[in-house]
């Protein structure tokens, strides 16, 4: 359809950049570091620019996959290299291309050792992430989905904090458990449907008796990625130990793999099982929202607090997805996007003071507003967005999910909404302890406010957060047709077995 294979270009541009850094960055150590940094920022910057045409050329009135590329790969197994995006995946691709250069900028000064290797890892990570969102073949999807773990593992394990090895292995162990089950399920799907093409698989109806097993296998993998309670404990450790950029990409993009997976696989391919297990998802999501919000209240480490708040926010995503209502699903997608921006920004916020003071303990701060007014303002904005204040991106997703949940059961909405109250409590409490109060600590007396590089990191995120809050139509319009189509798929499949959904509104 398109002259230029835009998606492949996007996916592999960072890999090419990584290759160039690997082979071309030569000279003294300082030269290598400098060249790697500039190489990485140019590569990721160009990748972002290349992704912009997606936004403008995407046809919002069609639910079909667009920018499709299809090449025979292993025809004897029915495997092809198949890429494409719809209204659900497109915005995640954009989120990835936006956050990567921001991460690289954020690592500019804070990564001092093995800069070249860091930048290469990050660009490879970007390739895998974009590839995952664009993949339309099970096999291709699986490769990208799992491969992401390798650079992430390295980033935490090499450039992380003191307990980095523990955190990296925990991440690895958790994710691996799910992956193997997913692989088995994929094989079963292949044997039943005779193809690995995801578009065809969506139309294929799997036997009702088989669906629960497939669904559970995928669930094992996605639930860890989201993460859902009770398989969430890897996240706080991973966040705490990861370098700032690692946390940003982890919260911003990697956590969305699970939510995206549910939308791409579980709902359209196993609709009967989806209905069957919706209660399980709701239960776990509600537990996640309340449980992790309470835990966040008790934290003394900034990054851990934000990590726990992430789990609570992702609880909204999983709950919204399984309402199978327009508002619930669009809200879930929106929540993932806004959380991608806001939580990324919050980890960057922590990174700013960590770079200066080298502590994540909340009690080591206090009274920063006196020295860092601009920082306080930016922190305030993202804190409020995280709390879900109307007018910021955080509100739209949350309210839509709650609307969807209320239609399923007012109990669910009421329980989920308590998370909103607790969210206000722990975020305001965090903000107060860091920013307000008197400036008494010796080492904070000379702390510097945001510099130009940091402003350039936050500026796009600020604009985006407000834009997403004030005029969300720009983003929601991409989703409408695809989400309706998704709900229709589920409905049709259910109708075949004589079941029906809640009146989809």
């Amino acid at each position: 359809m398109n002259e230029i294979p835009l998606l492949s270009l996007l996916t592999f541009l960072p890999l090419i950049g990584a290759g160039m850094i690997l082979f071309l960055a030569r000279g003294s150590e300082a030269d290598i570091a400098r060249n790697s940094r500039w190489g990485a920022i140019w590569t990721s910057g160009i990748t972002f620019l290349v992704s912009i045409p997606l936004w403008f050329k995407f046809d919002q009135s069609s639910a079909k996959f667009q920018f499709v590329e299809k090449l025979e790969w292993m025809p004897q197994f029915g495997i092809s290299y198949h890429m494409g995006v719809d209204g659900i995946s497109l915005l995640f691709v954009m989120l990835t291309t936006l956050l990567t250069p921001i991460c690289i900028l954020a690592s500019w000064d804070s990564i001092k050792d093995r800069v070249k290797e860091f930048m290469i890892s990050f660009l490879i990570l970007e390739t895998f992430m974009i590839g995952m969102f664009c993949a339309l073949d099970l096999f291709v999807f699986y490769i990208f989905f799992e491969a992401v773990l390798i650079p992430m593992f390295i980033i935490i394990g090499v450039w992380g904090g003191p307990r980095r090895v523990y955190a990296a292995f925990k991440l690895f162990l958790y994710t691996l458990l799910g992956s193997v089950l997913m692989l088995v399920a994929m094989m079963a799907m292949y044997f039943d449907a005779g193809t690995t093409d995801m578009v065809q698989l969506m139309d294929h109806s799997f036997p009702v008796s088989m669906q629960p097993w497939l669904w559970l296998a995928f669930f094992a993998s996605f639930a860890v990625k989201v993460p859902m309670w009770p398989v969430h404990t890897w996240l706080p450790d991973a966040h705490v130990e990861a370098p700032t950029a690692g946390s940003v990409i982890l919260a911003g993009v990697l956590l969305k793999f699970g939510g995206y997976g549910f939308l791409r696989f579980s709902l359209p391919m196993f609709p009967d099982a989806t209905i069957q297990f919706a209660t399980l998802i709701f239960t776990l999501s509600i537990i996640a929202v309340i449980y992790t919000s309470l835990v966040a209240l008790a934290q003394t480490d900034m990054k851990k607090l934000i990590a726990y708040s992430s789990i609570a926010h992702m609880g909204f995503v999983t709950a919204g997805t399984f309402t199978l209502t327009t508002q619930g699903i669009e809200g879930a997608i929106y929540q993932m996007l806004s959380h991608g921006v806001v939580s990324a920004a919050l980890f960057l916020i922590v990174g700013v003071v960590y770079d200066r003071i080298h502590s994540r303990e909340i009690s080591d701060y206090g009274g920063l507003v006196y020295r860092m007014p601009a920082y306080s303002l930016v922190f305030m904005l993202f804190m409020l967005a995280s709390v879900g204040l109307p007018g910021t991106g955080g509100f739209v997703g949350e309210i839509l999910v709650l609307v969807g949940l209320f239609q399923v059961s007012p109990w669910l909405a009421a329980f989920a909404a308590t998370g909103v109250i607790l969210g206000a409590a722990y975020m305001l409490y965090l903000y107060r302890r860091i920013i307000f109060g008197q400036l008494t600590k010796e080492n904070l007396m000379k702390i510097k406010d945001l510099n130009a590089r940091e402003w350039s990191i936050f500026a796009p995120l600020i604009v985006l957060t407000l834009w997403m809050g004030i005029y969300p139509s720009s983003f929601l319009d991409f989703m409408h047709v695809s989400v309706d189509n998704l709900i229709n798929q589920v409905e049709t499949a259910l109708a075949a077995h004589g079941q029906s959904l809640l009146a989809g509104r």
Partner: protein, 659 residues
């Protein structure tokens, strides 16, 4: 066009002043120029906004020309479609006047009050930002935009209560205000969802048009089937209770006095806290169909009126007395709404806006004169030193106590508005109406008592402040006095001027479609035909209260201490505000933190991690040491099998028990 100006001029002012915040100068002279610039821009914005608001009022309310101006699509998801829009009808226009006029006066007053402060542009920016959010709230044409303004004013309130962020008490109060309001917002949000579920829209006009068809609809909720409109109204009322500090969710308001005094006047007396009353009046077409909800509103309103008044009688902080008084007056407004006399509630909202702002700003003037002293036990004997403030406080208190001559058109603002509420409660001829009536009468007595207690303790008797403070007592500058004079004019005449239009015989023409009252709910009409003793009772108890205050605090100043000593239990109960704070701390705050820690350490640490990854890895280590022959890969298989087992078990359990 002018409607847009009214709403957005304050926002523009806030943004410009906000930019000035980030251009500080070390040079004192230059900084002073910047402060002045921020003051001029925000004040000019607000004064213009107020002028335009009056124009809007004459067009919309007096000209009978309500309108809705669409600005921009906001959220659009399925049939959940809403826009940013300005809905201006009589109710909005009245609110616009109150908000912009009081806000403009507070802006100007703040120039004088805050002139010692180091962060003037920030303060002015917050004030204007608040005004913008408040205007967005009252112009919302759908529930979500009202919610936007609702949360926005909450944010501004949070920022302003915590304005002096070096004070731990201010920070704590700010967080408390935000979080307690969130509890109310929780109800509000559920109300919005229930509205959407019933009407398939959250656009106000569409809801109001459809409400007649849905009046008997039921809704399955929380395990039972209930009258849908009752459910909706009760949820919305929880929101209103949070914002308007009604009994149970009132605890944040007294603490909010940590903010600078102009903030207390604007946000915590005249405007934001009345948003709950506005919401109930705005949603009158729904409340009218639910007798249960109206009954709850009446009871909560009546109870708050008396509760807060009792507490106000024993407080010693001048601002806290007025804060509890606000709480109590809001109770009056609610029970007016509860007996379907919404227009009387809004009428009192308007007059109260003027005289309560006057009282707060007057108290600010006293505090300013007394070198930031707020405890009335360390005041006294200053009336000759600050005569203008003294006179203005008298006017405020006369209006608050509702002094006037029944049967004539002579009286202060509160006389007209409070009496019509009490009469309407009587006129409702219902059990709850009578409850509210008697609570209202009793609260009127206490209101007069604590108002004159405040006057006497503050201004009369022997000076109890130290000499340095006394030597420094001075009348406030003109920039503070002039806004007070404007508000005093309102406190004197607003009742007289507004009475006929707001609650007179032809009030329904004035209100148009803004407020709906069903046939048969004629408490307001009956209010004009109550027995003479009902008309006289409020003013009679008012004078009794004043007399008692004189007797207790001027003629026989030993009595209060004796009574307090004699009835120590009751005194402590009142002094500690019925122990609400302690109770909430015990049952909500501390358990939440304790639970959080327990879930973290025990739930995550010992159970999930202990059994999961950590347990697994240590098991691997132990077993591989003992039986090195066993292949480690085998263990992984075992682990997978275990995970599948757990998942299956949990799923089965949940499906079997919940499905």
């Amino acid at each position: 066009m002018i409607e847009k100006l009214v709403v957005f001029l304050p926002l523009i002012g806030a943004i410009i002043a906000g930019v000035i915040v980030f251009m500080p100068s070390d040079d004192k002279e230059k900084q002073h120029q910047r402060d002045t610039l921020a003051q001029i821009i925000t004040c000019a914005g607000l004064v213009l906004s107020a002028v335009f608001a009056i124009a809007v009022f004459s067009d919309v309310a007096l000209g009978g020309n309500p309108k809705t101006i669409e600005l921009l699509t906001w959220i659009d998801s399925g049939s959940f479609k809403i826009s940013w829009a300005l809905k201006v009808d009589t109710l909005t226009a009245v609110m616009m006047i109150v908000v912009t006029v009081v806000s403009a006066m507070v802006h100007i007053y703040s120039i004088g009050y805050m002139h010692h402060d180091g962060c003037i542009p920030r303060f002015m920016s917050y004030l204007s930002l608040f005004t913008f959010f408040m205007l967005m709230l009252i112009t919302g044409d759908n529930l979500i935009q009202i919610f936007f303004g609702w949360e926005g004013v909450g944010l501004a309130s949070y920022l302003l209560i915590g304005f002096w962020y070096e004070k731990p008490s201010a920070n704590a109060a700010a967080i408390k205000a935000f979080v307690v309001n969130r509890v109310g917002d929780f109800g509000f949000a559920l109300g919005i969802f229930a509205v959407y579920m019933l009407f398939d829209t959250i656009h106000l006009d569409t809801i109001f048009a459809a409400v007649g068809d849905k009046k008997d609809a039921t809704m399955m909720i929380f395990g039972g089937e209930f009258h849908a409109l009752t459910v909706i109204c009760l949820f919305l009322f929880i929101g209103a209770m949070g914002k308007s500090a009604q009994l149970g969710l009132h605890t944040w308001l007294p603490d909010a006095m940590e903010g600078p005094t102009p903030v207390s006047a604007l946000i915590h007396a005249a405007t934001m806290v009345t948003a709950g009353v506005f919401l109930v009046a705005r949603m009158s077409p729904l409340f009218e169909y639910s007798d249960t909800a109206l009954m709850v509103v009446t009871i909560v309103g009546g109870s708050t009126a008396i509760f807060a008044a009792t507490v106000a009688c024993v407080q010693n902080d001048i601002k806290r007395v007025i804060a509890y008084s606000t709480c109590s007056q809001l109770g009056y407004m609610f029970f007016a709404c509860g007996v379907s006399a919404y227009s009387a509630g809004v009428f009192h909202l308007m007059t109260h806006g003027f005289f309560k702002a006057l009282l707060f700003l007057g108290a600010g003037s006293v505090i300013h004169a007394m070198s930031d002293e707020q405890d009335m036990r360390r005041m006294g004997g200053i009336w000759k030193l600050i005569p203008v403030t003294y006179a203005l406080m008298w006017i405020g208190n006369l209006a608050l106590a509702g002094v006037g001559i029944p049967g004539t058109a002579i009286g202060f603002a509160g006389f007209f508005s409070k009496d019509v509420i009490i009469e309407a409660a009587y006129g409702a001829h219902t059990g709850v109406g009578m409850y509210a009536f008697w609570m209202g009468i009793a609260a009127a007595f206490l209101t007069a008592f604590y108002s004159w207690r405040l006057l006497i303790m503050t201004f009369h008797g022997t000076p109890r402040a130290d000499e340095r403070t006394m030597a420094h007592v001075h009348e406030s500058p003109k920039i503070m006095i002039i806004p007070l004079l404007v508000l005093a004019t309102g406190a004197i005449f607003a009742g007289l001027v507004g009475y006929e239009s707001f609650v007179g015989h032809n009030a329904s023409e004035f209100w148009g479609n803004a407020i709906l009252v069903l046939k048969g709910h004629d408490a307001l009409e009956n209010a004009h035909h109550v027995p003479v003793w009902v008309k006289i009772a409020p003013i009679a108890v008012g004078f009794a209260g004043i007399a008692m205050a004189y007797w207790f605090y001027l003629l026989a100043p030993g009595i209060p201490a004796k009574i307090a000593g004699r009835f120590q239990g009751i005194y402590q109960f009142l002094l500690n505000k019925w122990y609400f704070d302690e109770l909430y701390d015990r049952i909500f705050v501390r358990p939440a933190f304790a639970l959080g820690r327990a879930l973290w350490k025990v739930g995550d640490g010992m159970l999930i991690d202990g059994v999961g990854p950590d347990g697994l890895s240590s098991a691997v280590r132990v077993i591989s040491r003992r039986a090195s022959a066993l292949q480690t890969g085998y263990l992984y298989h075992y682990a997978f099998a275990m995970l599948i087992g757990v998942v299956v078990l949990v799923t089965w359990y949940i499906l079997a028990h919940a499905g």
